[in-house]
């Protein structure tokens, strides 16, 4: 499993067909088995899905993009509901699940980015300024489109 240093991007290859990985991402029962929260419905385009954690907190996400067995994008609503029903702000992020077929099975890339167009450039910027404060990378100018 590779982790991209400059943002929340994770990748894993599974020795199964994309359709199987897709089912694990979109079927409520299967998703609930690995996500760490139980999900109240299958993920289909336009649905608002509630994730409930074992501590009683919950959060909702909108299913924004569905391209069967290829691409799934959900957008977290920017708050969490405590076990006692109080709302806490959370960053507004999108999670993108990209599925690609290769000779080993299915390569799944998961990215969770800020809910802004330049999500990846933003996380690059955060990493660069903190990690390399005295270095001179060619500049963030070229970050757009470089991925």
């Amino acid at each position: 499993m590779m982790a991209d240093q400059s943002g929340i991007e994770k990748e894993m290859v599974f020795p199964v067909e994309p359709a199987e990985v897709w089912a694990a991402l979109t079927d409520a029962a299967q998703l609930s088995a690995w996500f760490g929260a139980s999900v109240d419905r299958d993920l289909s385009l336009g649905e608002v899905v509630t994730f409930r954690w074992i501590d009683g907190s919950s959060r909702r996400a909108v299913v924004e993009v569905v391209d069967e067995a290829k691409l799934l994008v959900i957008r977290w609503l920017p708050f969490r509901s405590d076990a006692d029903g109080r709302l806490r702000p959370e960053p507004s992020t999108r999670v993108r699940f990209l599925l690609r077929s290769d000779e080993h099975g299915t390569r799944l890339t998961v990215s969770e980015l800020g809910d802004h167009d330049d999500g990846m450039e933003v996380t690059d910027a955060v990493s660069r300024v903190v990690i390399e404060p005295t270095q001179q990378p060619p500049g963030l100018l070229e970050a757009r489109g470089a991925r």
């Binding site: 998961v110 910027a125 990493s127 903190v130």
Partner: protein
Amino acid sequence: MTHHSVDQLFSALSDSTRRQVMQFLSERGGASASELADQMPVSRQAIVKHLSALKAAGLVAAEREGRHTRYRLTPAPLGDAMSWMADVGAEWDARLEALQGLLKRRSKGER
């Protein structure tokens, strides 16, 4: 730092000019709005607006030096954002391990 501030920070950095300003300030230690405007193909007025947004997100501080104002990076919110990203990254690591386990069990015919 609350998660709301992470949102504000991401929003502040979602503009490429503001990212350039951050990069410039991190390299030079500090600059005036005019110095920044000299470096970039935007007006001084635009730079001042961008600096305001960065200031609102806690990323720059302004200091008066006589008749000029110098801006410097206050990178603490970036550290908080990095922590948030590390936390979320760790969550995804755990989830993918669990997904791997689930798919393995299913392909072996178990549930």
